[in-house]
Amino acid sequence: MELPLELIWNSLPIILEGALRTLEITLIAISLGFILGLFAGLARLSKKRVVRLLATCYIDFLRGTPLLVQIFMVYFGLPQLLGSFQTFMMDTFHIAQIWESTHINPFVAAIISTSLNSGAYIAEIFRAGVQSIERGQMEAARSLGMTHVQAMRFVILPQAFKRIIPPLGNEFIAMLKDTSLLSVIGFEEMARKGQLIIAQTYKPFHIWLTVAFIYLIMTFAISRLVDYMERRLKAGDDRR
């Protein structure tokens, strides 16, 4: 079989446009997930049982259900919920319409679902990172009169950050691939762009191969970057 290079070449701008969106949504998901994960991870280690329980529920629910289902729940489920809420409010309190439309655009749904999902995974990464720091570090900080929050901020977390870079890198790569699921709600990331091109060209093998190859380039580049950062931080550790 001959590779229709011209077809691939012509599709490339559209696929790369999708690749940029893939990268964009992954960056957003990991960034928001990082913040969510930091708080959820620390909440998991809280002394208060209620806080711990809430964090555990969030983490277990999002890690224990498929991202695809979560995407559906946000994109299709949330508008229905908002609609029912609106009807309820209008009937009960006789107030005017709250929302023009409860439809959520795919980009917003994509941000919500992927951020919540990666937040749960990153929470576990943070928890493990914090727990890996020797207990004596917290004790030394507290013995100097630091509050728990100060000890976390100045002593524990800076050390934990270094250790969680490799698992964070893995999470980034996993999320980058998983964003292809967003194609089902019409969010035009790379996989969706591939589908659209195939619908016009009827060349699924060549297009999917191209798409796969670009995913590979992206994940490979990221894993190299993570390796590099890890090495640099290591070098910082045993500088002499």
Partner: protein, 240 residues
């Protein structure tokens, strides 16, 4: 300065401290000796609430430290602690280890804190190690930085938890020398140690603990020269 009344501590069902009563006067050096598992370290760690007493009372300068209205973070600033495993912050230089708490807790300016830091480093004989990270220091040097770190908060009492037990024999002397100096300057000290030479030379009073109780206490001359209790005698005969 420190008064302990009927202190009990359980770890789950295991009773580690079975009613400790003692007092430490200002400028006094109290050395706690005893076999491992006798509760010496737990006793010391109760004094700054790194372990929470199960029952009993501890007063520091008349303030009950277990009372709910006592701010333990303020109290801990008055009590420096030195650990067996040093517990220096590995991501901070020697100087930063010393200045972190003065800057964050006491809100000293960076330059004030640095001044204190440099003078303390000089005091423990490490003037030229200010910008060195812990992984480039020997055990004895680490412990001396740790002592300087505790002193930076200008504590009224220093607690030492087996400060030389993790050191190579040739480094024990340099740490003990720093401690002797402190004692000579009039620092109130509670020292858990196996260094009987230190206890004899520097201690004003020696407490012998066994099975969670203070079995015998007295001056070093009396404890080492003429121990009254059978268990003290057998312990000393094994280690001297």
């Amino acid at each position: 300065m420190i008064v302990v009344k009927n202190l009990h501590k359980y770890f789950d069902k295991l009773e580690v401290l079975r009613g400790i009563d003692c007092h430490v006067s200002e400028q006094e050096v109290v050395v706690v000796i005893g076999p491992s598992g006798s509760g010496k370290s737990t006793f010391l760690r109760c004094l700054n609430l790194l372990e929470e007493p199960t029952s009993g009372e501890i007063f520091i300068e008349g303030t009950s430290i277990t009372a709910k209205e006592t701010n333990i973070n303020i109290l801990r600033q008055e009590m420096g602690m030195v650990f067996q495993r040093f517990n220096l912050f590995p991501h901070k230089t020697a100087l930063e280890n010393i200045t972190l708490a003065p800057v964050q807790v006491k809100r000293l300016s960076r330059s004030e804190a640095n001044e204190i830091g440099h003078s303390l480093l000089a005091k423990v004989g490490l003037r030229d190690k200010a910008d060195v990270y812990p992984d480039q220091l020997s055990g004895g040097q680490l412990q001396r930085v740790a002592i300087a770190r505790a002193l930076a908060m200008k504590p009224k009492v220093m607690l030492f938890d087996e400060p030389t037990s993790a050191l190579d024999p040739e480094m024990v002397g340099e740490v003990l020398a720093v401690m002797k100096n402190l004692a000579r300057e009039g620092m109130t000290m509670v020292v858990v140690t196996h260094e009987m030479g230190f206890a004899r030379e520097v201690g004003d009073r020696v407490l012998f603990m066994d099975e969670g109780k203070i079995v015998e206490e007295g001056t070093p001359e009396q404890i080492f020269g003429n121990p009254r209790n059978e268990r003290t005698r057998s312990f000393l005969s094994k280690i001297l």
